[in-house]
């Protein structure tokens, strides 16, 4: 049983809006922890367009997704946010007025006075290949991530994909697997050249198999794979005996557990009021692309505005006794002290 982490506010999602929320909360002395399913901060800015230009951040004529993430990290540094990356929030319960208990898929528990859902388009989750009847095997003999390598010792493995994930796991698991087959749609790999060379050397030495084509069917029972069919680009059909399969086709955004918390939803979005961007559950806020209200625009700048108003209301839950005096960073010595510049 792991300990419970107590904090003022838990932010779900470390994309640009979740990051900026740390700033707005921090100016009001509110401490925050952030949880994100990706293993890095930045959300879509990091995962989908790190090198692509963004032209509509006010006052910044041009910045990349990566650049914006870096700048926000610098901006929130004085507030020392705690990050829990590579974790997905799975449950959220209201346990007091105001108090929430939130748990993650890595067994962490948080208790906090307010929760901010800044989950963007949902959580980034692995793409599921369109193979008939794959679902019952998932988590048993079809895995989208490797948590413990030893689980694959002496197993017949099929790894599908052509990027770094597929190649890295091919090289890491080949020594312990009974037999490993890598399946990719073309005889070219976008992974690191060194990994590609090592993989090709293993194939040449007979240490593993490489098949160019796609997995079209699965055979097995009760979640346990027995074999899979691989259709080659040359039209041939091969049956490969397999204990475990690891498909790596990148990530896609899915709403995820947010949909299971009993919140009112509209087309996978969370309706909020526009005074504080609070949901129907007091103390639970939703900001950025995940929320909806009349006139909503899915822009980063809208999310920034929402974060600022959210923080004002969150202050009431975190410090019910304190009166909030509105101040400007330009002129307030007290704010400047928090920012470490005065």
């Amino acid at each position: 049983m792991s300990e419970t982490i107590k904090t003022d506010v838990l932010i779900i999602g470390a994309g640009p809006i979740g990051l900026f929320a740390v700033f707005e909360l921090g100016l009001l002395d509110i401490k925050a922890h952030l949880v994100d399913i990706l293993d890095k901060v930045g959300g879509q800015c990091a995962e989908l367009y790190p090198e692509k230009p963004i032209y509509d951040i006010p006052g910044i004529p041009y910045i990349t997704g990566h650049g914006l993430t870096e700048a926000l990290m610098q901006q929130i540094k004085p507030f020392g946010p705690a990050f829990h990356l590579g974790e997905m929030v799975t449950t959220l319960q209201k346990i007091g007025e105001p108090m929430f208990r939130v748990t993650t898929d890595r067994g962490k528990t948080f208790e906090c006075k307010a929760v901010v859902i800044a989950a963007g388009g949902g959580s980034f989750q692995p793409k599921r290949p369109p193979i008939n009847g794959i679902e019952p095997y998932e988590g048993k003999s079809v895995h989208y991530a490797v948590r413990k390598m030893d689980a694959f010792r002496d197993k017949r493995l099929v790894i599908v994909g052509g990027g770094d994930s597929a190649l890295d796991w091919t090289l890491n698991l080949q020594p312990i697997a009974k037999r490993l087959t890598l399946v990719h749609r073309r005889d070219e790999f976008r992974g690191a050249p060194d990994s590609v060379n090592k993989m090709r050397a293993l194939v040449a030495a007979g240490g593993m198999d490489l098949k160019i084509g796609q997995v079209t069917a699965l055979e097995g029972a009760d979640g346990q794979l027995i074999a899979c069919s691989i259709k080659g680009n040359d039209g041939t059909l091969a049956r490969v005996e397999v204990d475990s399969m690891l498909p790596f086709f990148g990530l896609t955004m899915k709403l995820g557990p947010v949909g299971e918390w009993g919140l009112k939803m509209e087309d996978e979005l969370i309706p909020v009021d526009t005074a504080a961007f609070e949901t129907s559950l007091p103390g639970l806020f939703a900001i950025g692309d995940i929320n909806t209200y009349p006139g909503k625009l899915k822009l980063i700048l809208s999310g920034f505005h929402e974060a600022a108003l959210m923080a004002q209301k969150a202050h009431r839950y975190v410090f019910p006794e304190k009166k909030l005096v509105f101040q400007y960073t330009t002129s307030s010595t007290s704010l400047q002290k928090k920012l470490g510049v005065a």
């Binding site: 879509q44 989908l48 367009y49 796609q214 086709f249 896609t252 899915k254």
Partner: protein, 107 residues
């Protein structure tokens, strides 16, 4: 304006007008061709706007760039005529273009 026909996996057919300079992906979204997801909004980073260009049109549309070819690794049931529709710019030469959209874009 050039016309583009989208034929969805279930046979539903949409023939729509496309603006020169826009993309085949944007034109699909504007016209409610729901089998185009376009999660990343046209950055060539998500592979959820896959189309199979009609055989006859494939030589006119041309092959994917190296960057797009790499992204196609994250799509499913990719054929030699497959393209990411965000990377196909609409030109006069594409008037009459036919593309087939898949049942599944990975989500």
């Amino acid at each position: 304006m050039p016309k583009i026909t989208y034929i969805e996996h279930d046979g539903a057919k949409h023939t729509v007008e496309a603006e020169i300079g826009s993309t085949v992906m944007e034109t699909a979204l504007r016209n409610d061709v729901t089998s185009i997801v376009a999660e990343c909004g046209g950055s060539c980073t998500c592979a959820t706007c896959l189309v199979h260009v009609d055989e006859a049109w494939s030589p006119v549309v041309g092959p994917p760039s190296a960057e797009e070819e790499e992204m196609l690794d994250s799509a499913f049931e990719v054929k030699p005529t497959s393209r990411l529709s965000c990377q196909i710019k609409v030109t006069e030469a594409l008037d009459g273009l036919i593309v087939h959209t898949p049942a599944y874009q990975g989500r």
